[in-house]
Amino acid sequence: MKPRLWILAVSGFCLTASAEGFAAEPARTRAEAEARGHRAIEAGSSEVAPAFVLRGGTVLTAAGSRLAPGYVIVRDGRIAEVGAGEPVAVEGATILDVSGRFVTPGLIDAHSHLGVYPAPSFEAHSDGNEATAPVTSGVWAEHGFWPQDPGIEWAVAGGVTSMLVLPGSANLIGGRGITVHLVPGRGPRAMRLPGSPDVLKMACGENPKRVYGEKKAAPSTRMGNLRGQREAFLAAHKFREQWQRQEKSPRGAKRGAEHATPADRDLGLETLAEVLDGKILVEWHCYRADDMLAAIQLADEMGFSIRAFHHALEAYKIRDILAERGIGIATWADWWGFKAEAFDGVEQSAALLLDAGVTAAIKSDSPIDIQRLNQEAGKALAAARGNNLELSENDALRLITANPAWILGVDDQVGTIEVGKRADLVVWDRYPFSVYASAQWVFIDGHLRYDRALRGEPWSDFMLGQEIRP
């Protein structure tokens, strides 16, 4: 039996499809190639979400409203209704009294490495940086994502319901990231937030030049960084033009579009071509203001747009430019100083950015801080008020909900409490920006995934057996 399986595996290319979803022929179009690359073979959860009503609590919608008291009606995993006061009777729905509690959208972390750098840290499961070449556009974070990372459950306990998992910043172009919906899963493709776009992780500044400079390889300077990124996108342009030529050629037109695709696919250049086509969002690790200006110049030169800069501790210095160009920022509340390009961080950063009209988010980039994004937003709120900057409670909440949702390209699905959106909700035991606040319940697609009063079995297989002792 075993040899037969091996034969099947190596010769599967020329077998015909035996069941729906199993394709024997190679992809003949870019769109088909993309779709196949993302297809989950493992099924997601088939549990049916219960209908329920949260009533009596203060609802902070992150869409401009504070409903005190307010209610949220959840049906089929979606927000069916949200309003002030008391809901009218809802047939078949469980009423959950959350008087004295606060309801917010599920928190969204715009920058995480959970799954690719798990907690606890394993050498064997450290899959976040393909630091063997400075441009690795063809690698995908989801191919390194360990769904059993115990840190995922801790993040949910902190009220996080979605996160962007990115490759690390060793590389100029580190590869694709994936938006993970924090539900238990056997593989990352089934954990992807459905419909979320791929993103491309890029990095400027110290990290790539340090990683490769120490190997006496390029890049070893910021000059080398920019050259490496410009050359990568020049190559992508050539690739894309070649593809377009073939599609338009008489031979290509005659055979139809599906035969127009070149047989010699290139995973890296396909990814960059998708960036040039605006289908993949660019998430760019960058700290210094002048590095960000250089990145914007490069994007202009090469003809793509930047969705957001990450970390971006000097973003406040160029917030007028960022606002004008619609570039988002994913930053910290108060981390700073660990390296030279992080030396100019200020606590008022988020408030200054929002004030200028920049879509700003507070993210963790940490298995520890992902557990307390609400406190980080609370600190941003305090820093604003302490310096007479305008920052509303709604804006502070958007730092960790709606704004990261936009940065991930999923703001049509999550990030606010609005009718039709996914029922990703957190019930907090008190004002969520308080240091003393804890998530009491966390719902994802209407399923109760965390209850502070009933922890249940650990999500991660790794944590099983750890508590057993005579």
Partner: protein
């Protein structure tokens, strides 16, 4: 002879004269291990002269109205690396580790590298931190820790006592560090009795530097503790055995799984310095890390102090304490763990409380010090008011409005006045 040298080194710090007198009137005073009260704090000659509801304000003493404000002793970070690093990734700014291949570095003194002009220090003060125990890192025996107050432009003003501890890291395998420590402590003890013979070449040789053996004398004399970085519960048990055999004082640093052996720690009177934010399974040594570590240790009778174990993030000490309280530690014990407890662990009873005779390190807060929404409003160190400016406030002010962020051209000389 040794004892004389030891005492001289411990009394290194000299209280600077501060003649001013100031009375903070009408605040909510957080008092050590008793109920808060509305009252007055009088700072005179660098120390707290009087505290309480009926504290008398001396004639000529200036008054500051702190009504509706919370007044506490300055916070103490029991494991920050302030003054030892400016930028972590810039080796030219690092003074925290002796480096080199030798894992035994007992002579290395954090105090020698302490830079009181570090721009990190005003940032830490903006979080109400007025003192820190600074510790070397690296190797097995990293060196000697010092107590600094976050004021002054000179080491003489800032360093209050050195050494206050010898820093140790167990690492993995723990048994290797422990066997080395046993041998080292045995030899340090033997060296004291054999010193004269050793000088004459009449004793056996020691596989350690003479100065390392000397530096461990106050540890053997139980004058200062070993502060040992350790997380895993079974490593803690092994360490407790070593402490008992060697009759040395130990303090745990980190202690992620300390709650699993809380009763042993309480019985051995071993304190724990921990960061309650660092829960969750960060490493294989922390599989059983739990958010309520601080609360469980305190409930078992273990003395705890809290730390950020950081330099740049030392201002987050109050958030660290708030999270311990969120996870079940009482508010009073949370405050204790960032004021009086670290003072007592390191034998600095001159610090850590709003009490007459204690050093004049006082913070005025807009509300509950642990709460995210609370701001530090005023700070006094050694009885002197310290402005809350920092490099960060200056950056903020420069970029408060855009454009106009670039320094403008200077006026022509003729136009200057």
């Amino acid at each position: 002879m040794n004892a004389v040298i030891l005492i001289a080194s411990i009394l290194l710090a000299i209280e600077p004269a501060a003649a001013e007198c100031v009375a903070l009137v009408g605040g909510r005073l957080v008092l050590p291990r008793e109920n808060a009260t509305i009252g007055t704090v009088v700072l005179q000659d660098g120390v707290i002269a009087a505290v309480g509801r009926d504290a008398a304000v001396p004639a000529g003493c200036s008054q500051v109205d702190v009504t509706d404000r919370v007044v506490t002793a300055g916070l103490i970070d029991a494991g920050a690396d302030l003054g030892l690093v400016e930028i972590d990734l810039e080796a030219s700014t690092r003074d925290g580790s002796a480096g080199g291949a030798d894992p035994i570095r007992a002579t290395f003194r954090a105090a020698d590298g302490y830079n009181p002009r570090s721009v990190l220090i005003p940032v830490a003060r903006s979080g109400g931190v007025t003192s820190a125990i600074i510790s070397p890192s690296g190797g097995t025996v990293s060196g000697q820790s010092a107590w600094v107050d976050l004021t002054g432009a000179t080491q003489a003003e800032a360093i209050r006592r050195a050494p206050v501890a010898v820093a140790v890291t167990l690492g993995r395998p723990a048994g290797d560090a422990l066997r080395r420590l046993r041998e080292l402590l045995d030899d340090a003890r033997l060296f004291q009795t054999e010193r004269v013979a050793w000088e004459k070449g009449q004793s056996r040789t020691f596989p350690w530097n003479r100065t390392d053996l000397e530096a461990l004398a106050p540890v053997i004399a139980r004058q200062i503790p070993l502060v040992v970085a350790v997380d895993r519960a079974c490593d803690i048990e092994a360490l407790l055995r070593l402490a008992a055999e060697q009759s040395v004082r130990v303090v745990l640093r980190g202690g992620a799984e300390a709650h699993l052996v809380a009763s042993q720690l309480a019985q051995a009177k071993v304190p724990v310095i921990l960061d309650p934010l660092a829960y969750g399974p960060g490493s294989f040594d922390q599989i059983h890390a739990r958010p309520n570590n601080a609360a469980r240790l305190r409930a078992a009778g273990v003395t705890i102090a809290l730390s950020t174990f950081s330099a740049h993030n030392a201002r987050k000490l109050r958030q660290v304490a708030g999270n311990a309280v969120r996870e079940g530690l009482s508010w009073e014990n949370g405050m204790d763990a960032v004021t009086l407890a670290p003072a007592e662990i390191f034998g600095m009873e001159s610090h850590g409380a709003l009490a007459p005779g204690r050093v004049g390190n006082v913070v005025v807060w807009s509300g509950d010090p642990f709460e995210t929404s609370t701001l530090v409003e005023r700070i006094w160190i050694h009885g002197r008011s310290i402005p809350l400016r920092s490099r960060q406030t200056e950056l903020f002010e420069r970029y408060r409005t855009l454009p106009g962020t670039l320094r403008p051209a200077l006026p022509l000389p003729a136009a200057r006045r």
